[in-house]
Symmetry: C3
Subunit: 209 residues, 3 copies
């Protein structure tokens, strides 16, 4: 396999894993099977969809390749079937989610650079690709987006996309750059989970009038 095939494969693993976490979030809210499919799809492809709509990059990936959408919907429904087993796979899912975060961030940056846009825009779009699926999932489930509140997640997306853009700027070999960015992004996320690293929060309460 060449590097484009490897990253496509990692991306496919990532969206399936995201679809399954979306389905579980729907299950926590006792949605019906349509809700499971919708939240699963939104979680898996929401980030890339928002990115492409922001930069006007049509057709969307899943409109041009609707088989991805079918696979995501199937993964969401499969999650319902295997839910009793999912409890024992939560560590595995955290790892796949960490890999997915790194892959999405790199792909978002890469696609934006390929369109000739500014490197800073590429970093922003890497973060959008990495985190907006989860933001839409949480809005559908009527929760304040987790990514605004807890843990190192978005910042890892930012650093991964940023590193990719910097390495690209210095013409580092793409294959090498992918290995470095994905490894570091993945490791950083796994460390952040294990060590319970968090971002500082901002607590602002208005004085009584």
């Amino acid at each position: 396999m060449n590097e484009a095939q490897i990253i496509t494969m990692l991306w496919a693993v990532g969206i399936v894993a995201e679809a399954m976490t979306g389905a579980l979030a729907a299950g926590r809210r006792q949605m019906d099977l349509f809700g499971v499919v919708m939240v699963g799809c939104a979680t898996a492809i929401g980030g890339g969809t928002v990115r492409d709509m922001l930069i006007g990059n049509y057709p969307l990936v899943w409109v041009a390749n609707v088989e991805y959408l079918v696979a995501i919907a199937a993964a969401a429904l499969l999650t319902v079937a295997i839910a009793p087993v999912m409890r024992y796979l939560s560590r595995l899912f955290l790892a796949i989610d960490a890999l997915g975060l790194a892959v999405f961030s790199v792909i978002g940056a890469q696609k934006t650079l390929a369109l000739g846009l500014d490197p800073l825009v590429a970093i922003v779009m890497g973060v959008v690709t990495g985190v907006f699926g989860g933001i839409i999932r949480d809005i559908f489930c009527q929760e304040i987006p987790l990514v605004f509140r807890k843990e190192l997640y978005a910042i890892i997306s930012l650093l991964t996309a940023g590193l990719y853009v910097v390495l690209d700027h210095f013409h580092v070999d793409t294959g090498l750059s992918l290995v470095v960015c994905l490894s570091l992004g993945f490791l950083f996320r796994m460390l952040a989970i294990r060590r319970h690293w968090t971002m500082p929060t901002f607590n602002y309460q208005e004085p009584a009038h």
Copy 2:
């Protein structure tokens, strides 16, 4: 009237009815008149707007024909005026909403096919057109989207759009196809309401850690 005129007329009835249900939802949350207009407009044209933004189909219908938007806003405000009567019209509204669901689903699929996109994409866009107005309404009203939780609604949109796409594939006369799809979609929805048919739900609760 030819079939294009009939479907446009049914669509107009549908968006007016959706605007009124949106206005009632705003009233349940005690919004002000601007909220009523905004939620009414989002409910009526949200589905078609999301569809056209996803497939990059510009200009949007209500941007090209802003008189539709004015009519929707007027319908939302009218709802406030006639609210005391609305209580007695809830059965009528359920019927119009059922017709609207079928019309929106068929139109969404039809417009997508007309752009030369994949039949599966057309079915997806039929569902988006049918259900996203209600999803945006519920997000504006801070509720978990009803369509993710209750009753046969989205699945009827899916079957109606699917049937239209299949009949189109086999070159069935469009007028006949419209009559069949709209009748079956409408009847199925009315039966689902009367018989309280529901989708299976997915209840996933995490074990205590």
Copy 3:
């Protein structure tokens, strides 16, 4: 400075002020620094972004000029640093926000007219530009959008954009028109705050079944 420069400067003041109100909203929900930046950015540029996505006007302003986004993110983070002082600046912020509302509404209408779209569409897009940043902020913070519930806000956006479009229609000098619209929009909003003017609300409760 010519009039284009003045309006750009007022716009810059407006988006910085909106970024700061977004950051405070995030602080009320005890979000982390990433949440602060995201809610700040969404509040500041959400309105213009939604407008341009609705009319298919690419590239988006902040994609073409990513330095604006960096400035907005910096303003959001600065807000965290100077939060203890912010309590004493709430009157100043209300005034800047009132000015921002007028500026955003006029710019939204102006840009839409410049694209050759219908004057009514221009008014709608003025309102979208004026109020959608706050709508997205409230959805991210899991609140029913304030603009749907309280105070004269959206209606001032509507009147300001409407006046601009009318004056443009009668070929009034743009500089004069800007002065008139911005002054009246600002004054109307300040009066509405001081006098506690509100829109009528719509309270619709279903009868028990």
